[in-house]
């Protein structure tokens, strides 16, 4: 219904302007909402670095006891740089509260206001996320800069400009992919009343398969039973790696040349697939949804 309204208005030039205006209003409203709790937000940003501290000490202890200088192609400094870089990727791809929020709005019926207003729910959520991220980056840039300056000795020399460009593209794509993955997940709420466990299961899988827990390269020695195919090879075909591992490995030069181009193409393909799936699930879900009362 709402997407139909937007589509109709999009037929004229004025319609496009109206759509843009709606988008702008949604963005401004969401920015104001986010900034209302800015101290909470700033504190949350700082806290997110704490698990990295543990990982740095853990891997330092592992390297010290193993007397190896290289684990799965990573030196100790590489590992530290990797975890820090995954923090940047997660700053783009993580969508805290998105799935749960969608599922809750379906359960408590608040989703129905988007069905009767000329606002597309998914677009509204996307604008809300863009606002969330803009505020997050504005607040987070200071702690991020401090941490990266303090830890600069862990990083290899900066890559060439083309690799930096590919890195930035992969980050933007990781934001969109993360959004559509989690938005689709939240829409499972149309079929199940209680989805918290499903969301939690997804988060676990995502944490493991995205390379957030450890670099995917460490799975290269684990066979799958298929000749010449390791567990790392399988994980590299899944969309999750783009939400942590891939951009970090691009910056560190672990993925280069055609492999990098192929990785980006696969990321775009996964994004396109998730946009279509998200739209289909929304359409199916709203068709079976029924809301009563106020």
């Amino acid at each position: 219904m709402s997407s139909g309204t937007l589509a109709e208005s999009g037929r004229s030039g004025r319609g496009v302007l109206t759509s843009l205006h709606i988008w702008w209003r949604m963005l401004v409203i969401c920015l104001e909402e986010r900034l209302a709790y800015r101290s909470d937000f700033a504190l949350g940003t700082l806290m997110r670095f704490l698990p990295i501290v543990t990982q740095v000490f853990l891997w330092t202890a592992v390297f010290a006891a193993s007397s190896r200088s290289d684990i799965a192609g990573y030196s100790r400094d590489n590992i530290v740089a990797y975890y820090l870089l995954t923090m940047i990727t997660r700053a783009f791809s993580s969508m805290p509260g998105l799935s749960g929020g969608i599922a809750r709005s379906i359960r408590d019926g608040s989703v129905k206001k988007y069905l009767i207003q000329p606002v597309d729910y998914v677009s509204f959520l996307l604008a809300s996320r863009v606002a969330h991220k803009l505020v997050y980056y504005a607040v987070a840039i200071v702690p991020f800069a401090i941490v990266f300056v303090v830890c600069r000795s862990y990083f290899p020399p900066a890559p060439d400009s083309l690799t930096v460009l590919a890195y930035l593209v992969s980050l933007v794509l990781s934001f969109l992919l993360g959004f559509f993955l989690e938005a689709t997940l939240g829409m499972i709420g149309f079929w199940f009343l209680e989805v918290s466990s499903i969301i939690f299961a997804y988060m676990l899988l995502q944490y493991l398969l995205s390379g957030h827990m450890f670099p995917i390269d460490m799975l290269a020695g684990i066979p799958t039973g298929l000749a010449g195919i390791s567990l790392a090879d399988v994980v590299r075909w899944l969309p999750f790696q783009y939400t942590a591992y891939f951009p970090a490995s691009v910056w560190l030069g672990k993925v280069q040349g055609w492999e990098l181009a192929g990785g980006l193409v696969l990321e775009v393909a996964w994004l396109a697939a998730m946009i279509i799936i998200c739209r289909l699930v929304w359409r199916r879900g709203t068709r079976r949804y029924s809301g009563f009362g106020g």
């Binding site: 709790y37 909470d40 937000f41 504190l43 949350g44 806290m47 997110r48 704490l50 698990p51 501290v53 543990t54 000490f57 853990l58 330092t60 202890a61 592992v62 390297f63 010290a64 006891a65 193993s66 190896r68 684990i71 209680e194 918290s196 466990s197 499903i198 939690f200 299961a201 676990l204 944490y207 493991l208 827990m213 450890f214 460490m218 020695g221």
Partner: protein, 271 residues
């Protein structure tokens, strides 16, 4: 006794609720086990690269898995007993739902920290026991009888320290109005207790270890009970046992004071 009966009623009601949504309960158990399995797989992966965590630390595979098992036991108790209730507090303060708790003729701290019981969290505790039963017989030297006597007491101390932390965060929630970040803070700070204290070494790690041992005693929670089983009880180890006991009493006492002070400053958000 009255509080025990009320707690029993709460637990029974939560069990009825869990059994009403059996599929979800089963999924919760499975996801909880999934998270634990993932971590165990990660540790196995680490031990495929190194014989121990920290050079000369003594945390080789079996002692380390006993450490992990101890962490699972303590966290299962905390997650089952306190976390489900405490995690609702931020929203209650924001919406004014806390008023309904305060007008009840019961201790507010008891109600806020123990009105929900999460049975699915106990699944990890059971796995912790199994893991402990696997790891301990494989120790180079078996733990002495006194270590087994101290172990449950130290587990209780670990739970008490974590409970103190939860109540302190709950009090901060009441003071600040909204603090989702402080519950993230709970996750992040307890993250430090997931690994042996010996990994925190060097110019940055040393001070961090001191802070996490004596200021926010999070490193005592798992390290001391697990160390009591995995290592000989030297003079220093007895000292840490004493420190853990004191920290547990202090955590519960101070957090109670902080909580009462926060409640006296509470202004209702409703009407």
């Amino acid at each position: 006794m009255r509080y025990l009966t009320i707690f029993g009623t709460f637990a029974r009601a939560c069990l009825v609720r869990d059994m009403t949504f059996r599929a979800n309960f089963l999924l919760e158990c499975l996801t909880s086990l999934g998270w634990m399995s993932m971590n165990l797989a990660f540790y196995l992966l680490i031990f495929s690269f190194t014989p121990e965590i920290g050079l000369g630390s003594g945390w080789s595979k079996e002692p380390f898995f006993a450490f992990v098992a101890t962490g699972l036991l303590i966290n299962a108790i905390v997650q089952a007993l306190f976390m489900p209730s405490a995690s609702e507090l931020a929203e209650m303060v924001r919406t004014g739902g806390l008023d309904a708790i305060l007008v009840k003729p019961l201790d507010a701290q008891f109600l806020l920290s123990m009105h929900r019981f999460d049975f699915s969290s106990l699944a990890n505790g059971i796995v912790g026991l199994v893991l402990l039963a696997w790891a301990v017989p494989r120790f180079p030297t078996p733990p002495p009888a006194v270590a087994w006597l101290l172990y449950p007491l130290l587990i209780a101390c670990g739970v008490a320290i974590l409970y103190g932390l939860i109540i302190t965060l709950a009090a901060a929630t009441i003071l600040m109005g909204r603090n989702q970040s402080l519950y993230d803070f709970w996750f992040y700070i307890t993250n430090f207790s997931r690994y042996p204290a010996e990994i925190y070494a060097g110019p940055w790690g040393g001070p961090l270890r001191m802070v996490c041992t004596f200021v926010i005693p999070i490193l005592l929670v798992v390290n001391v009970p697990a160390g009591t089983l995995a290592r000989p009880l030297s003079g220093e180890a007895w000292g840490m046992v004493g420190v853990t006991g004191v920290a547990a009493v202090a955590a519960v006492g101070l957090s109670r004071l902080f909580f009462q002070a926060a409640l006296s400053r509470y202004r209702s958000a409703s009407s």
